[in-house]
């Protein structure tokens, strides 16, 4: 299949970027990233600068293969990262626009690569539990209700990709932050520090320059792990509790 790609090229964070057009010959069994590899080999053969994009696991778990494909983070397929998106979802002759995540708090480093270290600092502000490391504890020593375990596990599937921020018209990081808060705060080990964690992570989120949530719901539609905005409601409840001084 022959495709016309319009890709955002930006040599550095200071430089001005623009969309450039390329023609690439792909086949429908390729993943989107493999198609990008073919393009880059082509560019290298022509002695041109290959397109910089992030990738690592290529199996949907690392959260680095971030690109906005035809206006949609990770492309048109729901619940799918770019590396798991296959070219069979496109047609011969399609024009595909590929852009980096867009948010003030995610500045472009080069081409499609953005700086997501704001997420790391949100995690450092409270996305952990304080326990001494050592032997793995006995799996069943703290009984946890099935429903609670499932909700915490669902939240824990967040891979920190940032598609939620990219999809949000406000560049808000609420879905990511709420997923981390719910993942830890629903479980007994994480409950202890829950209120302080919420306050610290939200404060860090604001400091990084992410926008405010206005409940458009775009994040949960584009999230490759289908994290629910129910987690955001939980974050809002907990944040109010942290402001009004409750301990729970």
């Amino acid at each position: 299949m022959k495709l016309k790609l319009k890709i955002w090229r930006q040599p550095s964070s200071e430089a001005r970027g623009r969309l450039e057009s390329y023609i690439v010959e792909a086949n429908e069994h390729m993943s989107f990233l493999e198609m990008m590899d073919v393009l880059n080999e082509q560019l290298i053969a022509e002695k041109k600068e290959p397109v910089a994009f992030e990738h690592d696991c290529r199996e949907g778990i690392c959260g680095t293969c971030n690109m906005v494909i035809n206006g949609r983070p990770h492309g048109p397929q729901r619940g799918t990262t770019t590396c798991q998106l296959h070219m069979r979802h496109f047609n011969d002759g399609d024009v595909i626009t590929v852009e980096p995540w867009r948010a003030k708090a995610f500045p472009v480093i080069k081409d499609l690569v953005v700086d997501r270290s704001g997420f790391d600092r949100i995690i450092q502000a409270g996305g952990y539990i304080s326990v001494n490391t050592g032997q793995a504890p006995d799996g069943n020593s703290i009984p946890i209700e099935k429903d609670t375990a499932s909700e915490a596990f669902d939240a824990a599937t967040c891979i920190g990709c940032g598609a939620c921020v990219a999809a949000c018209p406000n560049g808000s990081a609420m879905l990511f932050t709420s997923a981390k808060v719910a993942h830890l705060g629903k479980l007994p080990q994480g409950k202890v520090e829950h209120v302080a964690r919420v306050k610290n992570m939200v404060d860090q989120m604001d400091e990084e320059g992410f926008g405010n949530c206005s409940n458009t719901g775009a994040c949960e539609v584009e999230c490759p792990k289908e994290i629910s905005i129910e987690n955001i409601a939980m974050l809002n409840r907990s944040y109010m509790a942290s402001i009004f001084g409750a301990n729970k």
Binding site: E99, N170, N212, S214, N215, T216, N236
Partner: protein, 209 residues
């Protein structure tokens, strides 16, 4: 935002019930009595100052947040996708400002004219003195197709604002539940459709009367 929004939603409902009295075919007896009561009862007066304050607070907060959010995004995608969120949810500030423009028009036309004593006086049964004839003013205003048209525009904006705002306020307050949230969403849509529609019936009915 959510608290002031919910207050405005409650107010709007009461306001609607009162105004439906305009539809009575009694030459404005019931409506003028109600209007006098609403403008002279100290408790209602207190609430109305609260209302002005909350509208102001809601507007200022809304516009500040919307401006911050716009700058936090910074860029637009060259190929925007409309598929992941409702249009209204992304244009709350625009819709709100449309509603505000409508409110100025609305207050200038009725409330200001009454306050400045520009209305005629009529006798009503409930009081032994004459009260301002707001009913006549309203009837005259609704003969003007431009006024009726601008009311309808205001109400369409209100529909869109509430189609997102009603359920959004619950989510902001952290109230999201597998069983009740679909109910709240349904109720929100019902409110967003029925209330502006009922408001719209008044000028349309009086225009054709």
């Amino acid at each position: 935002m959510s608290l002031t929004g919910l207050f405005l939603i409650s107010f709007l409902f009461v306001h609607l019930i009162g105004n439906l009295q305009l539809l009575y075919d009694d030459g404005g007896e019931a409506f003028n009595t109600y209007a006098y009561f609403m403008t002279h009862n100290p408790l209602i007066k207190g609430i109305s100052y609260g209302l002005y304050f909350f509208i102001l607070l809601h507007t200022i907060q809304g516009v500040i947040i919307a401006a911050k959010n716009r700058s936090a995004k910074g860029y637009k995608y060259s190929k925007p996708s409309g598929e992941n969120a409702k249009w209204a949810s992304k244009n709350m500030a625009l819709l709100g400002l449309l509603i505000l423009a409508f409110l100025f028009l609305h207050m200038g036309d009725f409330w200001l004219k009454m306050k400045l004593g520009q209305l005629g006086m009529v006798a009503v049964e409930a009081y032994d003195f004459k009260v301002a004839d707001l009913y006549s003013r309203v009837s005259i205003a609704y003969q003007n197709p431009i006024i009726v048209g601008s009311y309808l525009i205001g109400l369409v904006a209100l529909y869109f604002h509430l189609s997102h705002g009603f359920s959004s306020a619950f989510q902001t307050l952290g109230l999201n539940h597998k069983k009740y949230t679909p109910l709240i969403n349904g109720l929100g849509m019902l409110y967003a459709i029925v209330v502006p529609l009922a408001f719209a019936v008044i000028p349309i009915f009086m225009y054709f009367k």
